[in-house]
Structure formats: C-alpha cells, structure tokens
C-alpha cells in the first residue's frame, strides 16, 4: 500500500443523525466495512464485550506511539445547513396481539412502562450537502472499502445519512490531524492538565470503536489551536 494525503468526500441525500459535531469518524466507518468483509456472516454475531475487541487493519497510516496510537484520519468537516428534530416511534402492536399473541394469565399489558413500553424518541438531524475528511492512506483501498458504505451516522436502518456517492482524491496537504493550525481530530495530550489559551481538552476515544471506554484518553479536541 502506498500512503498519501487524501481528501475524502461523501455526498449526502439528506440529513444524518449525530449526537456531537465530531461524528461520524471515517476510520470507524472503514473499520466497520473491514470487519464486515473479514468476518462475513459472523460479523452480525460479534459482541466485543463477550468475544473481545477485534483490531481492524485499515488502509490508513498509523500515528502515535504505544497504546496511544490512532489512525491518520480527521473528524468530519461539513457546512451545516440546518438542524431539525425527527421522532421515531416504537409501539406494542395491540391489534395484532389479538390474533398472534398468547398473553397467558396477563389480562392487560402495560405499554406506559416496562418491556412493552411505547416509545417516541427524538433524533437530532443535521442537514449537510456533503461531509469531508482528511486522511493519509491508500486511495485505491479506501475507495474500494467505501463502495459498500451506503449510510452514515445513527439510524441508518431508517434511511438516515444516505450517501449518494463518494469521492477519494489526493490532497495537497495532510489535514488528518490539523488544518491551518486547528486540530481536526482528537489528539492524545501529553502536556499539563491546564490547557494553554485556545486549547480544549477532554477525555474522548482516539480510535475505533469510539464508544469503547479503554480507548479514551485526555485529548486535545477538534477545534483547538495546535499547541
């Protein structure tokens, strides 16, 4: 594999769902694809808590040292055209239960709380035309993995974050960690806990899976000045 600075762009159909402005991280998306390919049908049966974490092998450059390594890939950069709330619903199908459920000794079902509770859940949707990431990696392999990525962010099962197309192109500069002096991804922080002016620190994960607690480090956060 030959690594070079890349600019990767996803053209979106509509809104995507992300709870914070640093999601979706592209190395996590690539990792999902790599594991799907490697594990085949077993992919959907895996549970890291039970089976242990499977490290991904991505066509991106590894940076950092020791346990503080991470992939050379920035967080998402996009121009947000707006936000809106969408609500999804989950309800106990009482009409169908008359024909298909055996309630045993239960004479009534509580759908206000408990396991059969009905849900109306808000989603924060972000409207953007496209999302761009900067990375250092192998363009051909990144392009191949991204071919199978049809959605980004949460609630892909409901059609959110639909991707219309991908562009992977060489970039003039390496923006995987910082661009114009501003941090573009969480970077492990080795300095004092008192950040200098313009730097923002926080405990976040540095590599996928980003929800995996052992990956959290004190980091210089995206948006900080390089110090």
């Amino acid at each position: 594999m030959s690594f070079q600075p890349l600019r990767i762009t996803a053209r979106l159909a509509g809104a995507f769902v992300a709870a914070d402005p640093w999601s979706p991280m592209l190395d996590a998306v690539l990792g999902y694809q790599e594991l799907r390919e490697r594990l085949g049908p077993r992919f959907f049966e895996q549970d890291p808590h039970r089976d242990g974490l499977i490290e991904t092998e991505l066509p991106l450059e590894r940076r950092g040292s020791g346990e503080n390594w991470y992939w050379a890939c920035s967080g998402p950069q996009y121009r947000e055209l707006g936000q809106f709330l969408r609500r999804w619903h989950k309800r106990f199908d009482d009409a169908l239960a008359l024909d298909y459920a055996d309630a045993g000794k239960l004479s009534r079902i509580n759908n206000a709380s408990g396991r059969y509770k009905n849900w109306r859940v808000p989603l924060l949707c972000r409207l953007a035309e496209e999302i761009t990431w900067h990375a250092v990696g192998d363009a051909a392999e990144v392009r191949r993995l991204l071919l199978g990525v049809t959605h980004l962010g949460k609630k892909a099962s409901q059609g959110m974050g639909q991707v219309l197309g991908w562009t992977v192109e060489p970039a003039d500069v390496d923006g995987s960690e910082a661009l114009a002096g501003i941090v573009t991804r969480p970077l492990p922080w080795a300095g004092s806990e008192q950040p200098p002016e313009g730097a923002y620190l926080g405990y976040v994960a540095i590599r996928p899976p980003y929800w995996w607690h052992p990956h959290r480090r004190l980091c210089s956060l995206p948006g900080s000045k390089i110090c």
């Binding site: 509509g14 619903h89 199908d93 949707c125 059609g159 219309l164």
Partner: protein, 315 residues
Amino acid sequence: MKTRCVRLDGTIELLAPLSHIGETISTTAYLNEEPVIQPDGTVETVFVYNGNALRGQLRDCAAKYLLDHLGGIRVPLPAFHLLFSGGSIGGAQVVDLEQARAYRRLLPAVSLFGGGVGNQILPGKLRVGNSYPIVRQTARLVPARYWTDPLPDYGGWTAEKSFTRTDDAKDERLRDRCLAALGEPERKKDGPPAQMRYTVEFLCAGARLYTHLVALDVSEIELGCLVTAFEELARFPYLGGQARMGHGRCRIAYEWTDLTAGGAGTPFLSVDDRADLSPPAAEAKDAYDRFLSSLYQAYLAEHETELTELLTGTK
C-alpha cells in the same frame, strides 16, 4: 453460507390520498415534512414518508407471514414483541452467543429486521430509506430514471380534508334507541367529546414517491423473507394512517441491484392488489418457503424443538 448485498429502488404510486402525520395542532393533523437540500444549496421543505414507518409495516408483514405459515401459532408476549416490534432489552446482564445464533438461524425475520433479546441487541441487515415525492424539490435525491418530464412542483401536492364525527345520541331520529334518553345517567361533562370536526392534511392521490432500501449481507432465505413481507403487504396495500377510510392505497414497484455482483437494476417485484415477483424474487421466496416448511414439519413432529423453545421463551 453465501450472502450478498442487495439494493431495491422503486416507486410508490398513490391510488388514494396518503396521511402520514408530522404534528397535530388543535384538531388539525399536518403532514410529515422535512427540509431537503436543493441543487443550489438552498433548503426547501417537502413531505417525507419515514423509512421507519415502512420498515415497521414490513416487519409486521414478515412476522404475520411467518406465524401464518407455521400453522397460525400464537406466541408468548416476549416472542410476539420481538417479531412485531423488535423486542426490548433488559434482564440479566448475560450475552448468550448460542442463543443469538439460534435466533438468526431459525428466525430470518429477526435476522433481517433485528431486535432486542434479553440483554443483547441483534443488529438488523435492512436499511429502509425515506420515501420522497418525485418533484422538482427532490431532484437531487431521486435517480434521474424516475423523473418525469417536466418535474412537477411540490406546491399543490397536498390538500386538507375535514371530517365530522357525529354524536348520534343527539339525533332525534335515533333517540328512542339511546339508553340515555330512556333514563340512563348522562355522560360525564369532562369525558371525551362525542362530536367533533377535525382536519387531516394529505398527500394527494396520484402522487409518485421514490423509495429504496438496502439489505446487507443477506442469504437467499433472508432475501426470501423480505419478498414474503411485500407479498403480505399486497394483501392490504395501504400505507400511512386512515386506511379505514381507504386512504393510503398504493402501488409499489421495485427494481433490484445486486451490489455484490454489480450490474444495473432490473425489475424485482411489484405490489398492487397482488404481488408480482420476478424470477429472482420468486426463487428467494421459494427458498424461504422451503425453510419454513421444514421448520413447520419439525415443529409438528416434535413440540420440544429448538424453535418451540425459542418462541415460547423456554430456551
């Protein structure tokens, strides 16, 4: 097990007005509309039929087909909730790999739509897209092969319709049939109103919507399960609310693209008053039917099968 990724693209043609409520203000229910990006970067608001709504309907249809073809069995509430609503997570902090595999192997509907079992989430393989009207405002989202020439404007595609619910107890002609008139106690003043006028906003009949879904790494049997969901939908081809008044009747047609093998889209199935299946769709359905048949035979032969244990919650 051979699996593949399949993409279905198609259209929903409304044969009756469609109600899909976004918000209700007073006695008026408004259509679900969301902002979409225009080619020039501006934003306009149009109707969207949420992917989760179609997904929920397909999940119900797949579950009905499954249970009807297992001899019309009635399942305990947890299994019913899993099949029809996706279940819920809770209970002991135990992750049982064998149980998860058993669910995937024996219940392709759960494998396809996903669900919560015990303390585990079984991720689904289906991604049901939002459906948008094929209009000028959604040209960026809808593949050009579904466009009409010229593309219509969204303005004027919606209409409001008012309905009256009459309190027949106040109808003098029916008064002698009403117990209240014969001395029964009057209804409480703070009880629900028996007479009202309400308004619903609809997407007009004749509208065409673009619909698509993606099935990731599905086996032939799981694809067949999806086909049966559409076949079940064809028995009552209505989307959205107010179906009791005939609203939401539709005609659906899908093309399919095998993303694993590549190639262009070819007709897959259509849903009208009946389902028309292309040869690949029919083959997938046959594979699923054979699977269900063998499952049913096993169920009849031995009531303590793995399936029974799973469905009755004893496993």
